[in-house]
């Protein structure tokens, strides 16, 4: 097809500063190797990702609780075609796992060959720092 005539728009670089003051403990705990959730002191609902306010009873009185690391994989995918800001990464596997506390976590799954990954298998949820120093968490092979 012929290239259609066009003009380039003005360039803009977008970087947002995302506030984390209300969940700071979560991000700090990741650096200590711990994964925290919040629990509503009024209705008892457990939140992961952590929330400062309860969408169930609308209270804002939360306590921090540490999550176990045992997960059961409910589903997964292997991402081959990657977005711009993930071009430097190798293709990665993303999974959703359910913890014994009842909450689910969506994260990368590492340490397995893709052919080994099955719905229903056990994985371990761990906190980590990326080589660039970004706190994150992932599923990996249980010891």
């Amino acid at each position: 097809m012929a290239v259609m005539p066009s003009i380039k728009s003005r360039e803009v670089k977008i970087v947002q500063d995302i506030p984390i003051s209300k969940t700071l403990q979560f991000w700090e705990a990741l650096k200590q190797g711990k994964i925290l959730a919040t629990k509503c002191r009024k209705c008892g609902k457990l939140y992961f990702p952590p929330a400062a306010d309860c969408s169930n009873c609308l209270a804002s009185d939360m306590e921090w609780v540490e999550l176990s690391s045992e997960a059961t994989i409910e589903t997964f995918t292997h991402v081959v075609v990657r977005p711009t800001t993930f071009q430097q990464e190798k293709p990665y596997t993303v999974a959703i796992g359910k913890l014994k506390e009842g909450v689910r976590v969506l994260a990368w799954l590492t340490g397995f060959k893709l052919s080994e990954v099955k719905v229903g298998m056990k994985a371990k949820l761990v906190a980590k720092l990326t080589p660039e120093g970004r706190p994150t968490y992932e599923f990996t092979r249980p010891e």
Binding site: T77, V81, P83, L106
Partner: protein, 390 residues
């Protein structure tokens, strides 16, 4: 609430439309819709525009305003609706409510999207961010094919759905797109073509995914009084609209084998229209990825949960089967200009109900003259189900 009819529809050609900007594309759909209705822009009191990529994948931040000015609609009540990939249906519902409530006699729903002004990785970036940026994209880079691949993996594990079953959806929808001159992809494909196409997000491959398309569609709605006054010969009535939403976090959904929002929206729409799934003559469903069409069969009650693959295997969703689905080619092959799709679905169903699909080979046989449109936003974040009746 008053009765509301569709009195005019129009659509642009879908595809890579680097020959037009957003306003020019909107015009291509709007003009035929008012000619179809037999009205002028000045007759339209309220306009709801569905568009998602304003300022991201195309340059205008206020596409409703630039499109309205270009179409001669300045002065009308105006807003833009955002419900991700269901923005067109949100615009249609909004225009419907404007007329049904008595606020307007004639309203328009205009879907317009320009997605091909940026490169593919940047498009994957923008759309991937449209799940839950903070918790699912920032660290984990989920793309939209990846989100639906999570559903595909779970559906395959639970019900034994196979990659061949998914491929059959693509084969069917390409077949009908080949008969639809406005479709983006008009090539026929085979199961082997799908299975051997490159992996995008396993188990989904290139031909399991809808193309990235530009396109616009326009729908004109009017009150029953206006329908009489204008002597509209084949009004198509809005019989039911159902709507619902799902969690932003994928990790908070109940399961990964269907969309809760689809089930809830469908129940509302069936109830309002007083219709059951077996009365439908034709349906368009949200097949952004092949697995989405199989889940839609189940969520909309065309079959039992887990039997979607059986329905496609048996050919029940082809013309001549129990319920023809996506005989315009669907999002999969007609194309999915995100904010346009909802209006494009109404365009197709209106043509089907009037029995004026230009290509007779893809006209669904009409018995009850009832049709259903199912439009999902995001990965089940939003859902609109619309039931039309001639």
């Amino acid at each position: 609430m008053r009765k509301v009819a569709i009195i005019g529809v129009g659509s642009s050609k879908f595809g890579v439309r680097n020959d037009v900007n957003v306003a020019e594309l909107a015009f291509e759909a709007f003009k035929p819709s008012i000619e179809d209705a037999g009205i002028t822009p000045k007759d339209i009191e309220f306009v709801a525009v569905g568009s998602t990529g304003a300022g991201a994948w195309y340059e205008e931040l206020l596409p409703a305003v630039v499109s309205a000015e270009y179409c001669g609609l300045t002065g009308a009540g105006l807003l833009r609706c955002e419900a991700a990939c269901a923005s067109g249906s949100a615009a249609f519902a909004t225009a419907y409510w404007a007329v049904a409530s008595g606020q307007a006699e004639i309203a328009a729903a205009l879907g317009v999207e320009k997605m091909r002004e940026i490169d593919t990785p940047t498009m994957m970036e923008w759309i991937g961010r449209a799940g839950y940026y903070l918790w699912e994209f920032h660290n984990f880079g989920l793309t939209f094919p990846a989100y639906y691949a999570l559903y595909a993996t779970a559906h395959m594990a639970r019900f034994g759905t196979t990659e061949e079953d998914l491929a059959l959806v693509a084969v069917k929808n390409h077949k009908y797109a080949s008969m639809n001159p406005i479709a983006h992809l008009q090539n026929r494909i085979t199961v082997d073509d799908v299975l051997s196409s490159m992996v995008i997000a396993a188990p989904l491959k290139l031909f399991d995914c809808c193309p990235v398309s530009d396109g616009a569609a326009s729908v004109i709605l009017a009150s029953e009084e206006k329908v009489k006054e204008l002597k509209v010969d084949t009004p198509v009535w809005v019989a039911g609209i159902g709507y619902a939403s799902g969690t932003a976090n994928m990790s908070k959904r109940l399961d990964y084998v269907g969309l809760e929002a689809s089930v809830a929206a469908a129940q509302k729409a069936y109830k309002m229209a007083n219709v059951t799934p077996d009365q439908l003559d034709v349906a368009v469903v949200h097949d952004c990825f092949t697995i989405a069409e199989i889940m839609a069969y189940e969520d909309l009650g065309f079959c039992k949960k887990g039997e979607g693959a059986k329905l496609i295997r048996e050919g029940q969703t082809e013309i001549g089967g129990k319920i023809p689905v996506n005989v315009d080619g669907g999002l999969k092959a007609k194309g999915h200009p995100i904010g346009t799709t909802g209006c494009s679905m109404i365009y197709e169903l209106t043509k089907q109900l009037r029995e004026e699909a230009v290509e007779k080979s893809r006209q669904a046989p009409m018995k009850n003259y009832i049709a259903l449109a199912h439009n999902v936003g995001g990965t089940g974040h939003y859902c609109y189900v619309t039931i039309l009746r001639r």
